[in-house]
Symmetry: C2
């Protein structure tokens, strides 16, 4: 492809609103352009990368036994009313009326449409299992679209839906998708983790998110290298190891004045201790009355875990009234001793150790507060966000900490849609049963952005080969006809080897060509200039490593072809399990 | 692919509303399902055919030098206001509001979005020409969606847009698209015609429609086999050949009573002449006053041609008042003699021939009315729909008549969008100029339906190989394990040859398998049953021709592979001009 024919305008500066690297670099590199908030056009380079991701997704979905379908963007409201989501989905569901006043939505997802399709066609256990997927444009009316493709309104998803005769069979379908997702992100050349996800009220632990690891990721993940248990910090189970040591050598509780010291940092500094030597006493109102959570001073309480550990329907920070009733003290000096409420103590708090806590007295803290001696531990629970070094809930080995971007989700749905929508089948004994469903999504446009978040440097993008728009870019330095025609003949020879070549034949200065090549991030750069042609050696640069090699002119095509075939092999389909 | 894993439910009966063959057969064959009026889901077989058409389109568009992009479905209203189409597009443009009350549309086409994109990025003649295309979901809120995919609301289009520095350059871009479209429809295996289209006020004759020929087509086309001039019957130019023969041997005009005879058929039967011996006298009111069109009794006047020949802004059937003023007679007996109005005489009317006409008297017709003798011919014009046998307007050879379905349109736009939207460039002399644009559409889903309209018989679809969902279907007759495993090994061997095989491994009776295979229309059917296996020969059927051949078992894979490669070659990319 000649760059002079391509529409790939590069920019020196990204628009101000572009804060994250993928947003900045995809715009600067001429991959995408904004049409409206959260709505982007894909320019030729962007479209090429999209197609490559789509093809990997399609190939691995088909290998898993799923069949591709294509469902409409515009969906009738009746189906959403039937499933109950017309009411519950909220304003992210874009509702619209056609010219006859009929209610429709722009599909943010397709559970209703697929369930409707399947219930009309599948009647017998003999027609199950089925797994149907599509790759298609979706719309979610985000209130604050941001970060370019990472949180857009119009986006492309691969969504798949499985239908089974039983929960066991559904678990097999789920596993096949889990395996396919691993193959997909491996072939995209991305470092990723499958993360235990909160599956809410629906069922079991059959819900996992796939996260591309990137420093800029919004999600915090811990992962155990020993047993490979990986979870969001909000969900990760930490091993509960009660330390029942002897507290007899510790001094007795003592109150010290700490006027004007409120924050953990201020108190710790004032008393010359570490934040981890303090305990925080958090008081909530809940559907079960007042509740107290005690956590170490250096850790954040995790609302999801608190709610789940205490078995609450709802809770919120306590009112002043509650605080005063529970602590018998003014607001702001709560401590764990002598509380009139149910108390949960975080697993990180040791029993045979002295802590600093609030004294339940104005401008005062207590020192030498020993849990189990100075206050009873009636309920221990995992109440804080997991962090680096915490003991893995499955095996006790220390967690590693990562930041991630969610690009995929596999979810066992059970009968959530099949029951209200009447998607049933007749089983082998003649009984009517609801189908067991699963749903499985991959954000295709999001994966493109996440790939950039993970693969970039100060100069631009560093695509993995399998999803780069081209495999090699040939930079012709200088505009004289002879050089151009020599460059052209190299391009033709390389293309004849089946290599995807972007030929920078623009009438631009070498500096601009080098900069644009680094910015767009095509994996290999071949430089063809007068100096090289005279010396008999051409320079090949590996964009990611920066490594440069001088290749003899007579073997340059063969060398590059070999190199690219080798690189491609890394991302080729792997044998199925 | 195992049919037992595929989701392809066939139906014995199509829904009542499905009147045209493609609608009936695509539903019955398990290719599509309706979600709402004019909105369809594509099941796995339908999706496969879609992808095949898309791939042919993509390949030939890229070969023509165009680059693929992807623009959003949801478009901001401002751009449509800028182009003026927000006001003028009418209710087919589905307007909607996002959660913040912003005005948007569901894109029925993308001139505004692409012009907006290009005007911000292209500034110099050095960056032109460019041709950008996309394959994407569009929406037109048809008032009466019908005929399945032929006139749906949500559909897939390939749309392309070219940008050039001058009209001459734009014509080259247009020609490249015209050539690409010919290659595309040839490779789809379709019989089609490129048809001169009415380009309205925009410019010249640079507008052509591509029609797939089918008896069920909505459009009527004439095509000259001598010079290949092809046009819609409403637009086709017919050669004007005034026949200035001697009328001296003809009898004189005579009035005969024709009580109660009004229609051409009734009068012709009553007077024992042919409809072609009558003249119809049609009277209109127009912006230029009363207007009369005289056309042969066996031909329909064509409003488009009448309007254009007379140079009218508007016209409609005359009021009774006008008729009486023009004919000096009651309504219903108009004839060409002695009229008080401007009169246009159709080119088919001969000057030295006696006709039957209205007599401008109640219940009376005139016979022996000779044009040029009994009434003056002041203006001759082409006023009727072209038909079979009419002389071609370019070369005079007789037209052939066809019915067609419009599947593509190439259009020279000029500066229609670039001027109002300010898409300009700086030319080589430093002057700012508007870009010259063209737009080029292919209805991808429509092409799928049109292919079925052209390729079907009483049993089902007869796909051309290049767009069939699979190339071969293998029917295993009987359910015993040994037969199944033998069939399976043939399927594997055929797939190993790179053939796309649909394996009917369902536990169904042979009759159902045969019927479904004919219905879905995969080009070749290989039957594997006990009888064949015992006799040492397997039966291969060509779906389209019905031809059956018995292939020796030991060479069956090689024979089929050779046959399919041969068939594929017919649809392979052809060398570019």
């Amino acid at each position: 492809m000649r760059m002079s024919m391509l529409f790939s305008p590069t920019l020196k500066e990204a628009p101000k609103e572009a804060e994250v690297p993928s947003h900045r670099l995809l715009i600067r590199g001429g991959y995408i352009r904004k049409l409206a908030a959260g709505i982007y056009s894909f320019l030729p380079l962007g479209n090429k990368t999209l197609r490559k991701i789509e093809n990997i997704v399609r190939e691995e979905m088909e290998r898993s036994g799923a069949s591709e379908v294509l469902m409409p963007v515009v969906q009738p409201a009746e189906l959403w009313q039937e499933s109950g989501r017309w009411e519950f989905y909220g304003p992210e569901l874009l509702r619209l009326k056609d010219r006859k006043g009929g209610d429709f939505v722009l599909g943010p997802t397709h559970e209703e449409v697929i369930t409707n399709m399947v219930r009309h066609e599948i009647r017998s256990y003999r027609d199950l299992p089925r797994n149907l997927f599509q790759i298609q444009t979706k719309y979610r009316d985000e209130i604050r679209p941001r970060a370019g493709l990472l949180r857009g309104r119009e986006f492309i998803m691969k969504d798949a839906y499985s239908f089974d005769i039983s929960e066991d069979a559904a678990h097999l379908s789920y596993q096949a998708m889990y395996d396919a997702y691993n193959r997909i992100f491996e072939r995209c050349g991305l470092e990723f983790r499958a993360v235990e996800a909160d599956s809410g009220a629906i069922g079991g632990d059959l819900s996992q998110e796939f996260h591309v690891l990137a420093e800029t990721g919004e999600d915090s993940i811990v992962s155990c290298s020993a047993c490979s248990y990986t979870a969001n910090v909000e969900k990760a189970e930490i091993r509960i190891e009660p330390a029942l040591e002897d507290a007899s050598g510790l001094g007795s509780l003592e109150n010290v004045p700490t006027p004007g010291k409120h924050s953990v940092e201020d108190v710790a500094a004032f008393l010359e201790v570490q934040p981890s030597d303090l305990l925080k006493t958090l008081i909530f109102d809940s559907d079960q009355g007042p509740l107290v959570a005690i956590v170490p001073g250096d850790r954040e309480a995790n609302p999801i875990k608190v709610k789940s550990a205490a078995g609450l329907e709802w809770f919120e920070m306590a009112s002043d009234e509650t605080v005063q009733a529970v602590t018998s003290a003014p607001v702001g000096f709560a401590g764990p001793v002598g509380l009139k409420a149910r108390v949960l103590v975080d697993v990180h708090i040791q029993e045979a150790r002295a802590y600093v806590t609030g004294a339940n007295l104005g401008d005062t803290h207590s020192v030498n507060v020993v849990p189990g001696r100075d206050f009873m531990i009636e309920e221990r629970a995992d109440l804080t966000l997991a962090g680096e070094g915490d003991p893995c809930g499955k095996c006790g080995s220390p967690f590693g900490f990562y930041r991630g971007i969610e690009v995929g989700h596999v979810f066992y749905l059970g009968t959530k849609y099949s029951v209200p929508m009447g998607a049933t089948f007749i089983d082998s004994e003649g009984k009517e049963k609801p189908m067991e469903m699963g749903c499985y999504g991959i954000g295709v446009t999001r994966t493109m952005a996440a790939a950039v978040e993970q693969n970039h440097d100060e100069y631009g993008i560093t695509w993995p080969m399998s999803i780069a728009p081209y495999e090699l870019t040939v930079l012709a330095l200088g505009n004289d006809e002879e050089l151009m025609s020599q460059a052209e003949s190299y391009v033709q020879a390389l293309e004849a080897e089946g290599i995807e070549v972007l030929f920078d034949d623009r009438k631009e200065r070498p500096g601009i060509k080098f900069k644009d090549a680094d910015l767009t991030g095509i994996p290999f750069q071949l430089v063809i200039g007068k100096r090289g042609l005279e010396s008999g050696e051409l320079e090949l640069k590996n964009r990611k490593t920066g490594e440069k090699s001088a290749l003899p002119m007579d073997s340059v095509v063969a060398s590059i072809a070999a190199l690219i075939r080798e690189e491609r092999a890394l991302f080729a389909p792997k044998a199925l399990k």
